[in-house]
Subunit: 496 residues, 2 copies
């Protein structure tokens, strides 16, 4: 290894340790921290974050990256690692420090304003924050640069290489495929009655049952944990130490599918290459790739009939109230499609229509064709058009998401890309493994996990998201498998 | 504030954040970390530790300390803070890096060797590690410097200003006071039967009961937590985020007094000055001072008759098996004195005889008057002389403690100093508050906590340990109050 590369790798390991410290502090904050600890936690994280930034964004790091790049062999792991590092370095150095600081400050203040505005159903209160945030994001995009559309620069921040045109193509296909499906389901009038899923489910039983499920699909508790958090997430700092969280509510599927979702993220992390711990090659390839795996285990596996062929008896053992419910009936309940106002509660079919609304509004805000003051009206009109329902308040409308207060404009499409990708990858997996339903119904998840590990998980961040899609599926990311899969499944579920 | 002091304080806050990260990682490792996480945890802590060392031990830090010291006003908080920082800086810079690195390496390897040797009852296996460790500690002492006795330098590392002569005086008084007491108790033949305390106590009941107790004495759960750990400890990184741990065994007093002990440390931490968070003035004054407070709440308060006048009914409510046990009988059970071989299981009276054995052996190892090969024989002879029992194996003898494998020679006396100090401080508290038994029996701990907070906790590290003893008790640390208090209590308990 060249001296430059060695020095750079050592610096990257230092950054990894600081990142692990912040990751651990974030995990603790959402799981175990007593309320009084919040103040000093913010100070400590602030300091570590600044130290990390100073260590990374320096002339010395730039020199090390450039010289290492000139020495690295094309196609080597080192070259891949340097690509990742250079991308991060460029993003952090292209945007002027003053703008970064203003955005950070506005995010913190803006979050409080958003919480208050949402509570009071008062968009006017949030409007000045969003106006400034849109301007900041426009400036960011200008500094980052883009080819066709100003929104491209923001997309790319969250999903390397993704463009506005990619998003439009995706949403066109999704709209064409799912809007009629949602309508057909609505018109059928055949909604399963899932009242039985609402009840006072004992937390210890929910905990034990969700642990059983995530263990069954392959989440390794000797290298991870499941705890509870108000907003479930997956954290971690090594393939050998992955922390998933869930929450136990009165709606039984909430913990079950929440756990499977986070365990999907967790499986991706646990099955990384262990020698990439402490390097920038560790972790998921992108937001969309990560989301594709949480969705695979939550929806494709977890909401399948085969899965409950295996686990419904266990569920009924744990929750005797469920003993009278048949497999078919349960399957329909957990695959209920119902247009609703709140994205995070949306079902698998309508979910992308929620992110579509945000994508279109974000694009228009960035080009200036929509003014912030007109967001509520645009939002409500789009909900009416795509979902057939109209929010009565902005609290249930354009004030529902946390993202904009933090300046996370450009993020929403990656949720839908994850959904698409989960089906596109699964189609290839099925081609290789054959009858996946039989595997799932037998509780034999090892071949599925093994395939995903070989094809996806073990590659960490080595390839760009687009390269990995091509390598795994042989074609660019598209909505065909997704729309076809959803249509097939839900026409059967609803008999439409 | 001078520019130098400002820069130094900012650097110290950075070090505090790194320290908090390592503290949090250490806490997690002993409470929640899955076993697989150990490898990467060691790497991350190793990196953060090196970063912290590099940031602190530099010519720039030295310059900042020296210039700030020349500018600080005598007696000011800043001067006190600079004293603490200078002491730490001197300790870290006086010992050559190569020696520090060798000690760290030997500690890690030595720990494994010690575990194996202890398991196999094979002192010969551990002997080479201890021989080199004794040499390293001698070299350390030479670099650190001392006036009278080579062991002074090691004492001072753990207890600023403490000397070998201080330890000898303390142990002479303790020996004179407790050896006859232990003998009188043994000769009385009146051992309480405490078989009833051994049983399968439900963990959730133990958890709830210990939480009730530590909450009652003032541990604030909105600014702290209690979790379980194999080896209970108190951690934390702010007055507002203190983590205590306990363990639930089949011997009921284990969790109760373990929790009260750690909560004693926790009360010291939670009642710090909050504006000293992120500064070197935060935390306990010294090891002995910290131990004095854990012992105060565990023994002086927690093992008093008054305490159980209040809490025995609650205990019996939680553990119905205890319903037939009267107050007097319970009080005698939890104050059973019985010479035993294992320090960590020792009662309040015999405890210091265990540390005395270690102190004498350490001194002799340091002067060279005892060779490492002769440690087992010296150990066994001293146990026979002071405790009247002789270990049958080295596993139950000189291989029992973890300290020597880590090179922590000089630490043991601070346990006993803590015990002495707890009585010396309590005597002053009683003079001010009067009938503490009535307060305790009424569950009114606020005046006691308030007194300790004002006199001790709020001063953090502002004064040296010896200064603080003088300020709080008006005299130097001594064993009189301790010996008198123990003698009074146990002559009554045993009627001897």
């Amino acid at each position: 290894m060249s001296k430059n590369l060695e020095t750079l790798k050592s610096r990257l390991a230092d950054l990894n340790a600081l990142g692990a410290a912040m990751g651990m502090m974030g995990w603790d904050q959402q799981t175990f921290m007593p309320p009084g600890g919040a103040g000093v936690r913010a100070q400590h994280v602030g300091i570590l974050s600044r130290m990390s930034h100073e260590l990374f964004v320096s002339d010395e790091t730039r020199r090390l990256i450039e010289e290492s790049l000139s020495e690295a062999e094309d196609g080597s792991e080192d070259a891949a690692m340097l690509r990742v590092v250079k991308r991060n370095f460029d993003i952090l150095t292209k945007i002027p420090t003053a703008l970064v600081e203003e955005k950070t400050k506005l995010s913190i203040e803006g979050h409080e304003v958003w919480v208050a505005a949402r509570k009071a159903n008062d968009f006017a209160k949030f409007r000045p924050v969003l106006e400034r945030m849109v301007e900041i994001c426009r400036e960011e995009a200008t500094h980052l640069g883009y080819k066709e559309h100003i929104y491209d620069a923001l997309c790319d921040l969250f999903e390397e290489g993704a463009t506005t045109a990619d998003c439009r193509n995706m949403y066109d296909a999704i709209k064409a495929g799912t809007v009629p499906l949602v309508k057909a389901i609505k018109d059928s009038g055949k909604q399963p009655d899932d009242k039985i899923l609402h009840g006072s489910w004992p937390v210890d039983k929910q905990k034990a049952f969700t642990e059983k499920l995530v263990k069954a699909i392959g989440f390794d508790f000797s290298r991870g944990r499941q705890d509870t958090a108000a907003h479930p997430f997956c954290g971690g700092w090594s393939a050998n130490d992955v922390r998933i969280t869930t929450r136990f509510l009165n709606y039984l599927p909430s913990a079950i599918f929440g756990s499977l979702h986070e365990a999907g993220h967790g499986l991706y992390e646990q099955n990384q290459r262990q020698d990439w711990d402490l390097t920038p090659l560790a972790g998921g390839c992108s937001c969309a790739w990560h989301e594709s795996q949480s969705r695979t285990w939550e929806n494709i596996v977890g909401r399948s009939r085969a899965f409950w062929t295996k686990f419904l008896p266990d569920l009924q053992e744990a929750f005797p109230e469920m003993k009278g419910v048949g497999l078919d009936s349960f399957y329909r309940m957990i695959n209920r499609v119902q247009p609703s106002l709140i994205r995070v509660e949306a079902d698998e079919v309508t979910y992308n229509l929620h992110t579509l609304v945000r994508f279109e509004i974000e694009c228009d805000l960035m080009t200036g064709s929509l003014a912030v003051k007109d967001v509520p009206e645009a939002w409500n009109a789009k909900y009416e058009a795509y979902l057939g329902i109209r929010p009565a308040t902005d609290t249930d409308g354009c004030l529902q998401d946390v993202h904009w207060s933090g300046g996370m404009i450009g993020y929403f499409p990656s949720y839908s890309m994850g959904n698409m990708l989960s089906f596109q990858v699964w189609a290839c997996l099925q081609k290789d493994l054959g009858d996946t339903d039989s595997l799932i119904a037998a509780g034999n998840f090892e071949p599925i996990l093994g395939w995903l590990k070989d094809k996806v998980y073990l590659h960490g961040c080595r390839y760009t998201p687009k390269e990995l899609v091509l390598r795994v599926t042989g074609k660019p990311m598209g909505a065909e498998d997704y729309v076809a899969g959803l249509t097939r499944k839900y026409r059967e579920v609803y008999g439409v």
